[in-house]
Amino acid sequence: MSKVTIKHSTKIKIGVAIKIIIGLIFISPIFIGLIFSFVPDEELYALPTVRTVVDNLTLRNYAKVFKTLPIFSYIKTSLVMCAIVIVVQITVSSLSAYAFAFFKFRGRNLLFTLVLIAMMVPGQVVTITNFLTIRRLGLLNTYLGLTIISFAGGRSLFMFRQSYMSLPREMKEAATVDGCSDLRYLWQFAIPLSLPSIASISIMLFIGEFNAYLWPLLVSRKPQMYTIQIGMAQMIGSDAIPTYGRMMAVAMLSLIIPIIVFLIGEDYLIAGMTRGAIKG
């Protein structure tokens, strides 16, 4: 009997090892980018061999990139943009979701339907006219212009509403009897008890905003306001002779933060993605 179990468990271990190897192959593009960010551009104009890589490892690409491009300014713009969207959208959604979860009022169903319809409108479709509005308001190249279209979010409102409705009803009733006002209940109970949802929303918003491309491409016209993604994209195909080594270096610099956030917040991200997305 014990022999069988041992055999079984070695089989599982071998399975896990094989799957980890498959996983490494799956994410190998990241490692390839990392390795070649340490190989000088000039070496990459011929088919690379193991020798090319081993003999030439250098930090020169990074040095050149930091010297010629305002990488830190790009990253700062991206981070500030993320911070604004996360703080504002969470504030706005947590308040509005409270109205839907705890109050009965005239027009409630209508307003809720409006939110649902808004969620069905694809963002790309309103991009043109939103861009015209932002330009007319003189908000190109500003943080407000970069973020204002993401201040309200149907998805985060939904997640807050779901989180509030999962709180025991008796708790609110007891609090009301004890003279706790609605706003105080929101602040002292509903929001603190929704921290897991807040974590999920924040991580989803962070990865979405940090990696956003279309809207920052339209709004950030000056290099001082480029986000890291725009800075990265500008490098691709812009030179007649591509500087692959430096491109890899910038790619690594733009991947590192979201990868770290993903590894730390993976569980919250997955919870956020799967909660309420699918019935059943």
Partner: protein, 296 residues
């Protein structure tokens, strides 16, 4: 409507109260939704009836002329064809790859978190750096040619379409993997043990147990990928950009018309057609879902 029914089921707390508080709480959301979702949508429709100037102000009323011009043009028909081809390739490819990865990870054992994280990792990666790495890997002197001994410039000519599709599938499949994994993990252990006792083969278990139980997720993922292919812009714009390739999809047309040529009204027509396509596919999803998906 389903939405209205949803609301009716929820019994809000307490009695009907007459405080203005809920309205105050809803003001910010409603203001931003109106300003940046509903107003631009209406404005988008309105602009298609006017000749707009360079800064997008409507000029002379032209009725349905722009619609007619777009709908009868060859490039529009080609872009619809391109979009459907692209979306079906991405849909099938991403779904198949995510299926394989998820089926490999059905069992949670010691160490499984490691490869799960690796399979899901592309979720966190932005299009621009992926495009940068991939342009190198698939360039003339890139890794792919070094490994296969070829000299093809993959991101051009005939190989452009399959290469871009391959890259996007890789970049997209993380979230599908997660959804399918959730579905597969819903399968009760007892059921699998029974199947094992009866000597069921892995493929039998896959088709007779995993697939039916995970059918809500499987269904969701198929449509998720088709819909996100319609909206996926960054990778195509960075890797392709131009209007005259098999990847000149609707969203690229929208961008090039509105923001490169500053023909906002034509861009708006493309935007509305894109949203119509998305809407139709979501309706199909809704209708088909009721018929084929099995809920526990």
């Amino acid at each position: 409507m389903r939405a209205a029914k949803d609301v009716a089921v929820i019994r809000p707390l307490g009695k009907k109260r007459t405080t203005p508080l809920p309205y105050l709480l809803l003001i910010p959301t409603m203001v931003f939704l109106i300003a940046f979702t509903f107003y631009p949508l209406v404005n988008c429709i309105r602009l298609t009836f006017y000749a707009t100037d360079q800064i997008g102000r409507p000029g002379a009323f032209v009725g349905l002329r722009i619609w007619k011009k777009v709908l009868t043009s060859d490039e529009f028909h080609r872009s619809i064809k391109n979009t459907l081809e692209y979306a079906s390739c991405i849909g099938v490819g991403t779904f198949s790859l995510a299926m394989i990865l998820a089926f490999m990870s059905t069992r949670a054992v010691k160490g499984s978190k490691v490869y799960q994280t690796m399979f899901a990792l592309p979720i966190a990666l932005a299009s621009a750096p992926i495009a940068a790495i991939m342009t190198y890997i698939f360039s003339k002197y890139g890794i792919f040619n070094a490994l296969t001994g070829g000299t093809t410039v993959w991101l051009s000519g005939k190989t452009l379409f399959p290469t871009v599709v391959f890259i996007v599938i890789w970049a997209n499949c993380g979230s599908s993997f997660i959804y399918l994994l959730v579905g597969f993990r819903n399968v009760p252990i007892e059921l699998l043990e029974c199947a094992d006792l009866d000597g069921a083969k892995p493929l039998t278990k896959f088709f007779k147990i995993y697939l039916p139980i995970a059918s809500p997720q499987v269904f969701f993922v198929i449509f998720l990928n088709i819909l996100s292919a319609f909206k996926s812009f960054a990778m195509i714009r960075i890797l392709v950009g131009t209007d005259d390739s098999p990847l000149a999809v609707l969203i690229l047309k929208l961008y090039n018309y509105a923001f490169v040529r500053e023909r906002y009204e034509t861009g708006c027509v493309y935007a509305l057609i894109l949203s119509l396509v998305i809407f139709l596919v979501s309706r199909i999803q809704f209708v088909v879902e009721k018929k084929v998906v099995y809920y526990q």
